[in-house]
């Protein structure tokens, strides 16, 4: 095998240095690999070559008409490339001079100054001065193209990166080129906003200060920023982000390109939704309810009081009367400690968090935990992508870009939804189902597979169940109508014949009426059509929050311990804890259960409520003790995204004075309850997780590095 691979490598010489790169590599990328800078503006590695800016000139021996552009020329065997000949240098100077004739010299007030490719390349490759002594083109200065993005057309060098992102990557064509020639500009239709949840990427890839983010304009200079490699905390995708901080305030999030996860992109919600970190509403001191009102107090008093009340409740009602609701946004270490605190410190089995409806902690058919069986990157290999009651554009945005990338590579998209979704217009088929119809749609698909298709894998139990449910299924078919039913028959056939189908549903759709079997039925569908464990095939839930899967992995569930190991005693579920009069005390970490209740009021039967959070949420307002926690930006820890990548979030700024990380609060509470918990860092906790959780076996903090580790199977890891 290794020898075979060698024949795929192309050998070339760049500035005298030998370089070996795979077939199809562009000269620009080969030079980059050799550590040689070839300046670019229009080219972006995630988009096809354009050849427009004419900056990346090199001279290639034996090719006609030198100089050539490095970003459009693929390497060939024996190629000899020169990047610094007089011809090349003159051509680059020429292009820079052209770009500068109409570029304003407002670097001192430009947000991009200090990290501007035009500034940098002019210094390194440009002419010392200009010969242009006439009037520059003028436009009105920065104009908003949306609420979030401003456009300064004078600074624009018309490289088309932003408009091509719009057409090639986000495929919403929101930002376009207007007019032509020297009058050309970036823009939109008249009075039309640049309406895209991915608009921030255009700001990030703009090589100059033409596109700027409303939230960052005039806030900071690049050299003042402290940059920390972290992970976006907004949804379950886990895009890699760099958190840029200036004097204890988060200024912006930038992509940190992880091809396995985000492919180099962030969504606007993730990029700009960090205001809660800087919010003046943040809790800065513990609070205790006195005479019906929450009043500030000291950490000592709050911890002492909480420990005492827990002891009293255990003495009065027994430990079983305490319930704990954990978070989908705190780190694995905190989720782990939370369930450990409840189970071993307080001694209650009642642990859960808000999540979808799954029939058991593991899928009974495959014995795998509920999670997408394929990786995010594998979606690109799919021939069919089926989205059932899920809308990644709104809920897991960057996954929407991966689906579009797969579509460009030939995948057919099927959308089953009662609502309009962004992908409808690109879908091979949009099947409009009734509201809450996802469960029925899954049953119809499954029934069509069992009764109408040649099965790749037979399973007596599933077939028997499907046949036994036939009468209900027929009722569903009648409710769907002929057209939708026919479309489902066609889709079932497509899935049965697919080279690789990826079937995805939203975790929360399983909570809809008549959808409690959605997860199980779709898993069965994937099993019967052999769409698990093959390249480009898979099935699974799209989780809601940054650490939804981590909370499950860590055993913040009533029936399993970390690693889905059965609990000796099954505790109360989330809903039971919020309705059962037996529960007298509630411990809530980073969750807001009050918001999910029909009326935002916790049961009156609760005698004691403790909440750890960053803001005074609806739940915190009803608490007896509130501990101020810190955000993802102020602590270290690991999180597990929807395709089971364990990634490190890193402290980017000083913790808000008065607030502590959730894990620190748990450790102090345990100590106040007489335990000798001696974790000093989240790394210590991760080490313990690795000893207890077969999926995390052997994982250490240092292993997570900058791009995380994808954990796939407990067996594999256990053996390692």
């Amino acid at each position: 095998m290794p020898e075979e691979k060698k024949t795929d490598l192309i050998h070339l010489t760049i500035d005298g240095a030998s370089v070996e790169v795979p077939t199809g590599t562009l000269v620009w990328a080969a030079a980059k690999q050799a550590g040689i800078e070839v300046p670019i503006y229009c080219y972006h590695p995630k988009m096809p070559p354009l050849g427009a800016c004419r900056m990346c000139f090199v001279e290639i021996e034996k090719l006609p008409k030198p100089p050539q552009t490095a970003c459009t020329t693929p390497v060939s065997e024996g190629m000899v490339v020169h990047t610094k000949t007089e011809k090349v240098l003159k051509a680059r100077r020429g292009t820079l001079e052209f770009l500068l004739i109409n570029h304003p010299l407002d670097c001192p007030v430009c947000d991009k100054g200090g990290e501007c490719d035009l500034q940098d390349f002019t210094l390194r490759h440009g002419p010392g001065g200009t010969r242009f002594d006439q009037h520059k083109r003028h436009y009105s200065k920065a104009v908003p193209v949306s609420d979030n993005v401003f456009l300064d057309r004078e600074r624009c060098i018309l490289c088309q990166r932003c408009t091509r992102f719009s057409s090639e990557i986000s495929m919403d064509n929101g930002l376009v080129m207007i007019s032509r020639g020297y009058k050309m500009e970036v823009g939109t239709a008249p009075d039309h906003a640049f309406d895209s949840v991915f608009s921030g990427n255009t700001v990030e890839i703009c090589p100059v200060g033409a596109l700027t983010a409303a939230s960052y304009r005039f806030k900071s200079r690049p050299w003042e920023l402290k940059r920390t490699a972290s992970v976006c905390n907004n949804c379950s995708v886990g895009c890699n982000a760099r958190v840029d901080v200036r004097v204890d305030k988060v200024m912006r999030l930038m992509s940190r390109a992880n091809d396995e996860i985000d492919d180099g992109w962030l969504c606007d919600r993730g990029r700009w939704g960090f205001e809660f970190v800087n919010s003046p509403q943040r809790l800065r001191t513990p609070m205790i309810r006195r005479s019906g009102t929450l009043v500030p107090t000291t950490w000592d008093e709050a911890l002492f009081y909480t420990a005492k009340r827990f002891k009293d409740i255990i003495a009065k009602h027994g430990a079983q009367s305490i319930g704990g609701i954990g978070s989908t946004r705190t780190t694995n270490e905190e989720a782990y400690l939370f369930q450990k605190f409840l189970r071993t410190v307080l001694g209650t089995p009642n642990v859960d968090h808000h999540h979808g409806s799954f029939p058991a902690p593991r899928d009974p058919l495959t014995n795998k935990p509920w999670a997408m069986t394929n990786s995010i990157a594998e979606i690109e290999l799919a021939s069919h992508i089926v989205l059932i009651a899920s809308d990644p554009y709104k809920r897991q945005p960057v996954l929407n870009l991966r689906i579009k990338k797969a579509m460009k590579a030939g995948a057919k998209i099927f959308v089953l939804n009662s609502d309009v979704t962004e992908l409808d217009r690109l879908a091979a088929r949009k099947i409009t189902i009734p509201q809450y119809g996802a469960g029925a749609a899954a049953k119809l698909l499954l029934s069509n597979i069992v009764q109408g298709e040649t099965l790749r894998t037979s399973n007596e139990a599933i077939s028997a169940r499907v046949l036994s449910e036939n009468a209900i299924t027929q009722e569903h078919a009648a409710a769907f109508g002929l057209a939708a039913t026919a479309q489902l028959v066609e889709l079932a056939h497509e899935i049965a014949e697919a080279k690789g189908a990826v079937i995805l549903y939203d975790e929360m759709a399983t909570l809809d009426p008549d959808c409690q079997n959605l997860a199980a039925d779709l898993q069965a569908l994937a099993v019967l059509t052999d769409n698990i464990g093959r390249p480009g095939a898979g099935v699974g839930p799209l989780f809601e929050d940054a650490n939804s899967l981590g909370a499950r992995d860590m055993g913040v569930l009533p029936d399993v311990l970390p690693g889905y190991q059965p609990a000796s005693e099954v505790g109360k579920t989330y809903n039971e804890m919020l309705s059962s009069p037996e529960i007298k005390a509630l411990f809530v970490m980073g969750a807001n259960p009050a918001r999910h209740l029909p009326k935002p009021e916790l049961p009156a039967s609760l005698e004691f409520i403790v909440v750890q959070d960053i803001l005074l949420t609806e739940t915190a307002q009803q608490a007896d003790v509130v501990f101020p926690a810190v955000t993802f930006a102020e602590k270290d820890g690991s999180m597990t995204n929807l395709d089971h990548h364990v990634q490190a979030i890193r402290r980017s700024l000083r913790a808000l004075p008065g607030a502590k990380a959730d894990w620190e609060i748990l450790v102090e509470l345990a100590q106040h309850l007489g335990k000798t918990w001696d974790y000093e860092t989240p790394a210590d906790i991760l080490h313990e997780i690795a000893e207890n959780n077969p999926f995390y076996t052997g994982l250490e903090w240092e292993d997570l590095g900058k791009q995380g580790v994808r954990i796939t199977q407990e067996q594999e890891v256990a053996r390692a």
Partner: protein, 443 residues
């Protein structure tokens, strides 16, 4: 007068109707092609005829057809009738006067190239030409010459007439395809070449309107007959568009290799310089070609001879310029064209044409500096060979050749602040001569 091929019969009234066109032998070539030839034999025949593209580059037509990739993608033919090169007006005439000849050429070429959908991209500004071609296509559909089973054969073809909307760049073949696909007319990266990945990703052949209009005659007369006209390497005839300061401007079909002087001075053609002024400069193939001095007037009009004296035969637009013309002004006017028609995709062409126009403007109006002339030449060097497509190169032709030939005029503008040919003598009185009719050469 030599034998006319592509402009033959143009004087016949009603030639633009199907009936009249057929009366004069129209569509006989098509019937012959469909019955007597296999597609590949037609490709060989056109190769043998020596026909070279009449759009500007002069690429051998049969060879172009032979390059089409053999794959499962649908193939397309695009007729490039986006005639916009300053100084060129032959395709408009062919479409207005003899649209069926073009349609017949399109059908035969489609058959030869195994194309089932062909497009005729007519320049948007040429409303009448567009109407004429559309009507001819409709007539041909009605007569079973286009559509299913043409003339009872098993060959079927669809032709769509597509109107442009004002963009010179769409005459560039890859920009034309982008435009046809409903996008901005930006030229595409090559390779892949259209013959491999073209319109809608299929192998595509793109031929100029005059080229395709010549096909029926070659089928009828044979490759050897056609090759008997012209020179060794530039075979056949060509419609030369004569404009500028001549007595009888117009389209004249002549064998390749005819000297420029014959076109300008022969009584049958240009009839000499307007007001018998002296010839000062010649633009031999549209405004994108290098200007030639009057001393080159005896150069034969064929690809090789024109290249040998430092220019290009281009689109066949021969522009004669007299002694009273300010070259700075004329070159400014040509440069403005490229500034306005640059698609804006690449930096050197977009910014360079703008900058050069600014400099030429200030030279023309007497505010120029001595260094401007050198600067212009250097900007040309930074555009030429550096731009994405040939439009950038084309924008520099008149400037570099103009400065080389008429440097003293540029210098005079700098030192005297006005033109050396004298104010008021720059251009002839408007309407001094009633121009010749559009198809003078064919009458």
């Amino acid at each position: 007068m030599p034998e006319l091929i592509v402009t033959k019969n143009l004087a016949i009234p009603g030639l633009d109707t199907l009936a009249t066109y057929r009366e004069h032998g129209g569509y006989e070539a098509l019937a012959h092609a469909l019955t007597a030839y296999q597609p590949d034999e037609l490709v060989a025949l056109i190769k043998d005829s020596g026909l070279r593209g009449r759009g500007g580059a002069g690429f051998p037509t049969g060879m172009k057809w032979g390059f089409l990739a053999k794959n499962n993608m649908p193939r397309y033919l695009c007729c490039n009738a986006d005639e916009s090169e300053p100084g060129t007006f032959k395709d408009r005439m062919l479409m207005e006067k003899n649209p069926h000849q073009l349609v017949e050429g399109v059908i035969i070429t489609s058959f030869a190239c195994r194309v089932t959908t062909a497009f005729i991209y007519v320049r948007g500004e040429l409303a009448k030409a567009g109407r004429q071609v559309t009507r001819a296509v409709e007539e041909a559909y009605a007569a079973g010459l286009i559509g299913k089973n043409i003339l009872g054969s098993d060959y079927s073809l669809d032709i769509i007439v597509h109107r442009g909307a004002g963009a010179y760049i769409c005459g560039e073949e890859s920009a034309l395809m982008e435009s046809l696909e409903g996008r901005r007319g930006y030229p595409r990266l090559k390779p892949p070449f259209p013959a491999v990945v073209g319109l809608y990703g299929g192998p595509t052949v793109i031929n100029n309107c005059e080229t395709l209009s010549t096909i029926p005659a070659i089928i009828k007369g044979g490759a050897q007959w056609y090759a008997s006209f012209g020179t060794e390497k530039s075979k056949g005839t060509r419609v030369f568009c004569l404009s500028g300061h001549v007595k009888k401007p117009g389209n004249y079909e002549l064998p390749l290799g005819t000297p420029i002087s014959t076109l300008i001075y022969d009584e049958q053609y240009g009839g000499g310089m307007l007001d018998d002024k002296k010839l000062k400069a010649i633009i031999p193939g549209g405004s994108s070609t290098f200007i030639l001095g009057a001393d080159k007037v005896n150069t034969p009009l064929d690809f090789e001879s024109i290249a040998a004296v430092g220019s290009m035969l281009g689109s066949g637009g021969v522009i004669a310029i007299n002694e009273d013309t300010c070259m700075v002004g004329a070159i400014l006017r040509m440069t403005e064209f490229y500034r306005d028609e640059s698609c804006g995709k690449c930096t050197p062409c977009r910014e360079g044409t703008y900058w050069m126009t600014e400099i030429l403007e200030r030279l023309e109006h007497g505010h120029g500096k001595e260094s401007d002339i050198k600067l212009l030449v250097d900007i040309c060097d930074n555009i030429s060979g550096k731009s994405f497509c040939p439009l950038g190169d084309a924008s520099t032709s008149s400037i570099t050749s103009g400065i080389k030939l008429f440097l003293e005029e540029f210098q005079y503008h700098v030192t005297h602040g006005h033109c050396m040919v004298g104010a008021g003598r720059t251009r002839p009185e408007i309407g001094a001569v009633e121009g010749a009719s559009l198809f003078a050469g064919a009458v």
